[in-house]
Point group: C2
Chain length 334, copies 2
Amino acid sequence: MAKRIGNSTLLFSSKPTITGFYSVVGKKEWEGPLGKWFDLTIGEGHFGEESWEKAESKLIELSTKGALEMAGVSTDEISLCFGGDLLNQCIATNYTLRTLGIPFLGLYGACSTMAESLIMGAMSVDGGFAKHVLCATSSHFCSAERQFRFPLEYGGQRPQSSQWTVTGSGATVLSQKTNGVHITHACVGKVIDAGIKDLNNMGAAMAPAACDTLCSFFQDTDTTPWNYDLIVTGDLGSIGKDLLRELLFQNGYSAQNLEDCGDLIFSQEQDAHAGGSGCGCSASVLNSYLLKQLNQGKWRKILFMATGALMSPTSSLQGESIPGIAHLVQLEKE
Amino acid sequence: MAKRIGNSTLLFSSKPTITGFYSVVGKKEWEGPLGKWFDLTIGEGHFGEESWEKAESKLIELSTKGALEMAGVSTDEISLCFGGDLLNQCIATNYTLRTLGIPFLGLYGACSTMAESLIMGAMSVDGGFAKHVLCATSSHFCSAERQFRFPLEYGGQRPQSSQWTVTGSGATVLSQKTNGVHITHACVGKVIDAGIKDLNNMGAAMAPAACDTLCSFFQDTDTTPWNYDLIVTGDLGSIGKDLLRELLFQNGYSAQNLEDCGDLIFSQEQDAHAGGSGCGCSASVLNSYLLKQLNQGKWRKILFMATGALMSPTSSLQGESIPGIAHLVQLEKE
């Protein structure tokens, strides 16, 4: 059976199923509008670990443990793990994986990692290479701020267009077909650079990539936004979401059913400015709010598209613009 | 047909074929023992680019162009690209990909990236998700030294156990079955941490992971080293290669047919100490010396296993040991 539609869309005809999922977040996320949907909070700061980086590893450790428990599979039964994070050399994920003993394929897709890992996972399950796979990612406000912006102690002022890196992790177990929520299609994004250089406006840098992936997918599948109960982007935030709506409109699509994980996760009162960001943003929202409500039947068919900004502090200091990428998966409740 | 053997081995029954490959290296590599096998050198330093990072992007740009030309396919015909590098947030690869317009799945596997990208590529071709895929990675001595060790201007002394990051890139085009060299099997590695903390002895940190992957593969496939014409590891260097031989011996395997890309790429006189390293090391050696001689019939069946060290400067400063990983592919000339 054909596994591709059009130029960029993958079809998973065996319908890999999400059999386990779990989310862990920090205090601020727990106190936000989606707080009641998350599985666990481990409070503020280091969570008793020696460093922010180790605290972030702890987040992945807890989310993977929770997802495996829900799926009812042991680490021995997981054939492959796909994961990564924002830290240099992806140390949060790598250091957690050394304790799990699962064959591991590391990813770097910035904040698009959750969708990227689901695409890889679905390909390996649908291709017959794995019975169960684990997909996971994380971010931590403190480790990200230090690495990408300023030491927290510096107390830098954040402009209104800036986003707040989510402290959180989400993990998903994908298995060969059973009952539940299936991954039926995916659209792998291209690296799109619209020339944005403002590190405090990531939404603007990523929106063109989100538009490109979404339009490619609509064309390949001959659908429009109205064929889906919800389209939810990764972490464009409020500014990026508005921009994406406008770009889609220019391409002939009206998307009133568009939401964004970064826009959903914090309230106005939480002073997160343009919204949440980080790999953990879309990962924690998918593995709580979205999958729980898909399982409950609130929606039947949604598009989950995580977006990533692919610059580094070095490339920015060298005057480079910020390339973006967006990966999409279609989720369907049977 | 079964796509898995044993615990960790993947079987690509449709035999994805390497239809294009290309290598680009720096001056030192061009002057080394494998110089005559490489396709192109772009001399020393910046190659006319504004920074070492952009020079590294140029390496990938040239290697991917060469591999596509050999395969006789355009970027439009490539369904997926898998790649990554050592730089923070994989900027060398990301910035090249923005010019190619190919759906892209970014990887971080440190120096194991070439094998990792081939595994993902083979899964997607064998699974029917892509007709042609592009796999690529790179490293650059100057960008790596600055990021992982000291600014070059500091003139730090390098101990004899240290390795020299290869300036180079290799790219491979994998296609649905045709004549040529096939990827028939793969073994995905686990993250193994033997507690080594010496950043100047990466070979020792990676050898236990290499041993684990190789032993898993031999057990899964019921083979021994003597079933292969050559076993070539990524960049263990001379010290790591000797350690791997010893570890294999302790596991009941004698591997006299073991070579290492890092050990092959520089001569004693080139003052590279324990040998070459970096994603570009195994990538450039595979996409020149190894694949050219496989095509010429020197070997019929070899194992290519790229090894990676998964630490970061931050994790090392925090006192962490160095986890390793090793991914293996079996290459067969028809």
